[in-house]
């Protein structure tokens, strides 16, 4: 077993004095691809904030056994002000961290790095455009570039498929698949069906956290939702079975 990048031990946290997560334990290993699912308001984004270290804990602890990993983060689209006057190039370079935390003007080498990243994402022609002129998919790609440019060991994506069309979603998942061998990925989605085929394990977050070391959706996973969901059955031919509602 490899040393985990991040280790959460019996973490409780929330906002003001209201707990959103209770007694949550989780380990993220260097080659993990974890799908985080759960209902809205269940604490998926709160979990991300705990891992990123931007939310104080009520109880428990978060440790980084092999030192704080380089982390790339794609926030939820709703958190972003799309009218802010910032260009795609400026957005992506926000992910470049100078070794001492100082943010001087970009060096030549850093500018080249930004350009290469944009080329990889097929956004090179939009580099100088303000983010407000991009489509939903293009914008998510730009945010993914910002998350990736510092070559993170851990990549956290919070609902990357909101406001994007199906084509882009396929493109995004293909990209993640390509990236997954050499970094830990945590993919948050309320769309349980789409993410399960690609992830290696599933974490269900609904106040607490249930970890499933495989991507098979079981009855236990379903219980977290308490409502009808699309279930993907894994077989030679992928197909969907719609589960009936109990109540």
């Amino acid at each position: 077993m490899s040393t985990p990048l991040v280790k959460l031990e019996k973490v409780s946290t929330g906002y003001d004095s209201k707990a959103v997560l209770r007694d949550v334990s989780l380990e993220i290993h260097p080659d993990d691809f974890i799908g985080v699912i759960g209902p809205n308001g269940g604490g998926k984004t709160t979990l991300v904030k705990v891992i990123l270290g931007i939310l104080p804990l009520f109880k428990g602890r978060v440790t980084f056994p092999s030192g704080k990993p380089k982390t790339g983060y794609l926030p939820q689209a709703s958190q972003i002000d799309r009218t802010f006057p910032i260009s795609v190039k400026e957005l992506v370079s926000a992910g470049l961290k100078a070794p001492n935390g100082w943010f001087p003007r970009l060096s030549r080498k850093q500018r080249q790095k930004v350009n290469r990243m944009l080329e990889e994402a097929g956004l090179e022609n939009l580099a100088s455009k303000p983010i407000g002129e991009l489509s939903g998919g293009q914008l998510q790609k730009a945010f993914l570039c910002r998350a990736l440019i510092n070559q993170p060991q851990l990549l956290i994506l919070d609902e990357p498929n909101t406001y994007v069309d199906k084509n882009f979603e396929q493109e995004l998942y293909a990209w993640l698949k390509k990236l997954s061998p050499d970094k830990a990925i945590m993919l948050i989605s309320h769309d349980i069906g789409t993410i399960t085929p690609m992830v290696k394990s599933i974490a269900c977050v609904n106040g607490g956290l249930h970890y499933h070391p495989s991507n098979q959706l079981t009855e236990e996973v379903m219980k977290v939702y308490n409502c009808p969901v699309d279930v993907i059955a894994h077989g030679p031919i992928p197909h969907r079975v719609l589960k009936t509602h109990d109540s």
Partner: protein, 277 residues
């Protein structure tokens, strides 16, 4: 034409012209941040709260600008603190500070014995009586602000755009936000001299939204907003002289007119392109 130039023989007019230009440049640098972060209402609160400091300084026989600066900075820090905690409704808190400042100002001015001759100049500005010391202060602030952006442009913009991500990247977001709050407060107080408390915010917003018709890059909005600010306020200053109307109001009128004309041209152009297609 000679009449237009002859006014430059007067020192007060040369000073007024310099003040209009420098204030426009300062307002372009600070206002771009205000408009981008959508904190115009916050800045309105800071501006009006500073009147409390002016009133108190009058009453205590101190320099009114000193009083305004203290009140403005404290209000700015207070609002930034309230909004970072996210517990009190921010807009309500601003409204309270806004009107409390005005109320304190009125009370203290009322209590001050005798006539307060400068009061109107704080409310409506008095660019024609700007002295050399004030111009120097404006110039120093402009240079400082330009250097500040030169060094801290990226962390300032990133902290404004996406504070959460910036925090993860190790930028001391709260530090930059508080620094900018203080700079906004001081820039507003210095600019009160030009157009007065009631109108000052328009210098920090109208040239910026005019510039944003042309570009959506923070770095490019600044010089363009400075240019539109200078053109509008100089035109206002001249017309105030020609038609014998109040300078502050004339400047704001021209800045707004300029925005509407340019916006109109853009709308007509868009319409023509659409009908041609």
């Amino acid at each position: 034409m000679t009449e237009l130039l002859s006014i430059f023989e007067y020192q007060f007019f040369r000073h007024a012209m310099a003040a209009a230009v420098l204030t426009s440049i300062l307002a372009a640098m600070i206002g771009t941040y205000i408009v981008s972060r959508k904190i115009v209402f916050i800045s309105g609160g800071i501006t009006h709260a500073s009147f409390g400091g002016i009133g108190m300084a009058f009453y205590m026989g101190l320099n009114p600008f000193f009083g305004a600066a203290v009140f403005a900075v404290l209000t700015a820090l207070g609002i930034e603190w309230i909004s970072s905690r996210g517990k009190v409704r921010e807009d309500s808190a601003i409204a309270i500070l806004w009107s409390l400042g005005m109320a304190l100002g009125i009370i203290f001015v009322f209590l001050t014995p005798g006539y307060t001759p400068n009061l109107m100049s704080f409310l409506f500005g008095s660019i024609l009586s700007v002295g050399i010391a004030e111009l120097q202060l404006l110039l120093i602030f402009c240079i400082f602000m330009a250097l500040f952006y030169l060094v801290f442009y990226r962390p300032v913009v990133y902290s404004a755009f996406d504070p959460e991500f910036s925090k993860i990247m190790g930028i001391p977001v709260a530090f930059y936000r508080y620094i900018m709050a203080v700079l906004i407060a001081l820039a507003i107080v210095i600019s009160i001299r030009t157009v007065g408390i009631i109108l000052v915010l328009s210098l920090f917003t109208i040239p910026q939204i005019t510039a944003m018709l042309f570009t959506r890059s923070f770095a490019r909005i600044i010089p363009l907003a400075a240019l539109w600010g200078i053109i509008g306020s100089v035109a206002g200053l001249y017309s105030a002289y020609l038609f014998d109307i109040p300078t502050g109001a004339a400047m704001i009128f021209f800045l707004t007119l300029q925005f509407l004309v340019i916006k109109g041209i853009f709308l007509i152009r868009g319409l023509l392109i659409r009908t041609a297609a």
